[in-house]
């Protein structure tokens, strides 16, 4: 009986917090409509396939030069013959530009950069290019991520052009070397990022700011002057937030599925696990950063201080490999990166449940750590 009554408290708290959210039209806009509009805008802007420009790394090594002295198989000689030289700026390596005209599908321009293997991989990681060309044992080797449709496209175009124009002159003088690297359609990349961002924003603004606001209005003080269970208060906030985030993300996915034909390649259980772990991580952080202050302006600053760096660094909109190499390990440990990468691995790369366990465990640990610390220092009055 007593348990039933206590559950009623929880139901009333959940009901109150739920109503508080859905009765603010702005919350509905920022939580549901804004991510959809963003997906629509950015999806249309970056998914269009006209006037394509792609960068290609061409490995410059001594072996190739020696071998090709007496050989027709030379990418370098081919570029000299068929491509336009671009004047290098400063000490930058020589660039070549090759435009493949197509009246129906639009022109495709390839920018070739002669570079070392190491530098080519850096460019690939940063998302600057998706394919690398090399010459070994009288073969042209194409290195790219087989899951990357954009790299496939580049490979087919280049292979056809090289073959038609006499290089290689014989069959089997080219080979494909698979590389496992991120990258698909932009919208495929974007939607999991938007979901991760939605979870972060919803938790940070909805929970942190909401709690600071309640503290500044002395509502927290009034509530704890009753026999209300404090843990119920926080559990109800988290429950409502997770439920809202599930709805928001499901609607965003539904929209992306209908309009952009996004699919979930990997494990649904893994996706759910990592999604809930992400919510707990950001819920914990939200409680931690709002555990003391009652000033909404300070709260505003605190939320921004947490949200803004991750918005910029964690690769929600564009690959974080554009940032310097030294910063990548740090960026990869950010909660938003963990969540976005985890979601992407399931959405795009077809990761299974077991692959979701590690990032989910890290996110869960982050959440529990910050939740415990926040609860310890929480100022109810």
């Amino acid at each position: 009986m007593n348990k039933l009554i206590q559950q009623k408290q929880l139901i009333q708290l959940i009901s109150a917090h739920f109503k508080e959210i859905i009765r603010h039209p702005a919350v509905i806009f920022w939580g549901i409509i804004f991510p959809i509009l963003m997906a629509l805008g950015l999806g249309i802007a970056f998914t269009r396939q006209t006037g394509i420009v792609r960068h290609v790394a061409v490995i410059e090594n001594d072996q190739a030069v020696t071998e090709n002295a007496n050989n027709k198989l030379s990418i370098h000689a081919f570029l000299e013959k068929h491509a336009d030289k671009i004047k290098p700026v400063g000490s930058k390596p020589q660039l070549y530009k090759l435009t493949l005209a197509n009246e129906k599908l639009g022109d495709t321009t390839f920018i070739f950069e002669k570079t070392t293997w190491h530098h080519a991989m850096i460019l690939l990681k940063r998302g600057n290019l998706s394919i690398i060309m090399d010459e070994k044992n009288n073969r042209i080797e194409y290195h790219f991520d087989p899951l990357n449709t954009d790299a496939h496209f580049s490979y087919l175009k280049l292979s056809k052009f090289f073959t038609q124009n006499g290089t290689p002159v014989e069959e089997n003088l080219e080979s494909v070397q698979p590389l496992t690297v991120h990258g698909t359609r932009y919208i495929d990349f974007l939607v999991p990022g938007l979901m991760a961002m939605g979870v972060m924003m919803s938790c940070m603004w909805g929970m942190s700011y909401g709690m600071i606001d309640k503290r500044s209005k002395k509502l927290l003080r009034r509530m704890v002057a009753t026999p209300m269970k404090k843990s119920y208060f926080l559990i109800s906030l988290m429950t409502v937030r997770i439920a809202m985030n599930l709805i928001e993300s499901a609607l965003l996915f539904l929209f992306a599925w209908l309009v952009f034909h996004i699919t979930i390649e990997g494990s649904l259980a893994g996706l759910f696990t990592i999604f809930i772990a992400g919510n707990i991580a950001f819920g914990g952080i939200a409680i931690f950063i709002s555990c003391r202050t009652s000033n909404t302006e300070i709260g505003n600053g605190l939320v921004n201080a947490v949200v803004m760096p991750m918005m910029v660094l964690s690769g929600v909109f564009f690959s974080y490999y554009n940032f310097p190499d030294w910063s990548i390990p740090f960026i990869q440990k950010l909660p938003l990166t963990l969540l976005a990468d985890g979601l992407r691995s399931i959405f795009i790369e077809g990761a299974g449940f077991t692959e979701a366990i590690l990032p989910a465990a890290i996110l869960l640990s982050i959440g529990i750590f910050f939740f415990s610390a926040g609860l310890k220092f929480f100022k109810w009055h």
Binding site: I5, L13, R222, A225
Partner: protein, 311 residues
């Protein structure tokens, strides 16, 4: 026969940085008693109230509620106490009924008690209104309703009518007067409205600068001073008047800020008032306003501190 006190405040001190908010306060409150903590803004009333509510801890001294300290007894004491903070904003987009249901759930109370409270606070027509759409008086009545939900043994109200218009204030008073008649709830309220203290409380504790200046019933507080009557006057020519009237012997005049109005405390009004009027007549001074009234707590406070309650 008096039983053990419901609230005991023993030599309580509290300071914030360099400000001594409460300095050695002692008092007891018994079952069914209504007590007003009266003082100007910054007197230390709210700090004292928050220590009684268990929100703040005293630096020194003890506070016992029903014989228990707050530490370790929070759950039981919260069950017995109803309170209304000086300023509380409830969840804007919950209705009156939903807000009461939420708080009722904390006390494990049902819909019946919520309906009773709605009737008591007179918000039956507003049950479906969002809190954000209530007037100041209605919100304060809702806060009072929440304080009364658990039928508290002790009711603590921190400035329950501050900022309300006279009608809204009387509505709150009416609810509390009804409560006094029909329950044994002990009440402490802080106020800087003398009239509120008079209307609602049989005992008044006057506080200033964190200390109790005087305490007792209204009659006891006012009887202690011999100057029982007050005359307030205003003259047509204030500048000239000050020179002429401030000289006569026998009258101690407290001039207002603009030096055109004065207050005189009289202990023998039947003899002294005609003398004062004669003095004005002899000096060709014309009265614009004259009021003769009994001494109030505000006058008492002014006598003790040189300041008014509302300053």
């Amino acid at each position: 026969m008096k039983t053990s006190p419901v609230i005991e405040v023993k030599n309580v001190c509290k300071s914030f940085k360099n400000v001594q908010a409460v300095n050695g306060v002692d008092f007891q409150i018994f079952k069914g008693q209504s007590v007003a903590l009266l003082g100007p803004n910054g007197a230390g009333k709210t700090t004292l109230m928050e220590m009684i509510e268990g929100i703040q801890k005293p630096d020194n001294g003890d506070i016992l509620i029903m014989g228990r300290k707050w530490k370790g007894n929070e759950r039981q004491l919260h069950q017995m106490i109803g309170l209304s903070l000086q300023e509380t904003h409830f969840i804007d987009r919950l209705t009156v009924s939903e807000t009461l249901k939420l708080f009722a759930s904390f006390y494990k109370l049902g819909k019946q008690r919520v309906n009773e409270i709605i009737q008591i606070i007179g918000l039956a027509e507003k049950t479906r209104s969002y809190v954000v759409n209530l007037s100041g008086g209605q919100r304060q009545r809702l806060a009072l309703g929440i304080a009364l939900l658990n039928d508290p043994k002790i009711l603590l109200l921190d400035e329950p009518t501050t900022g309300l218009d006279p009608n809204a204030r009387r509505e709150i008073w009416s609810i509390l007067q009804h409560l006094k008649k029909h329950s044994q709830t002990s009440l402490i309220l802080t106020t800087h409205y003398m009239e509120e203290a008079e209307q609602l409380c049989e005992r008044i504790i006057i506080i200033d600068k964190g200390q109790i200046l005087k305490q007792g019933s209204l009659e006891e507080l006012l009887k202690e001073d011999n100057d029982e009557k007050i005359i307030e006057f205003a003259l047509d020519e204030p500048n000239l008047a000050i020179e002429r009237v401030s000289n006569p012997s026998g009258f101690h005049i407290q001039w207002g800020a603009n030096r055109d109005k004065g207050i005189i405390a009289l202990n023998q009004i039947e003899r002294q008032l005609p003398e004062f009027l004669t003095l004005l007549n002899q000096n060709n001074l014309r009265l614009r306003h004259l009021e003769c009234r009994r001494k109030t707590l505000d006058d008492l406070f002014t006598t003790m501190t040189g300041r008014r309650l509302h300053e």
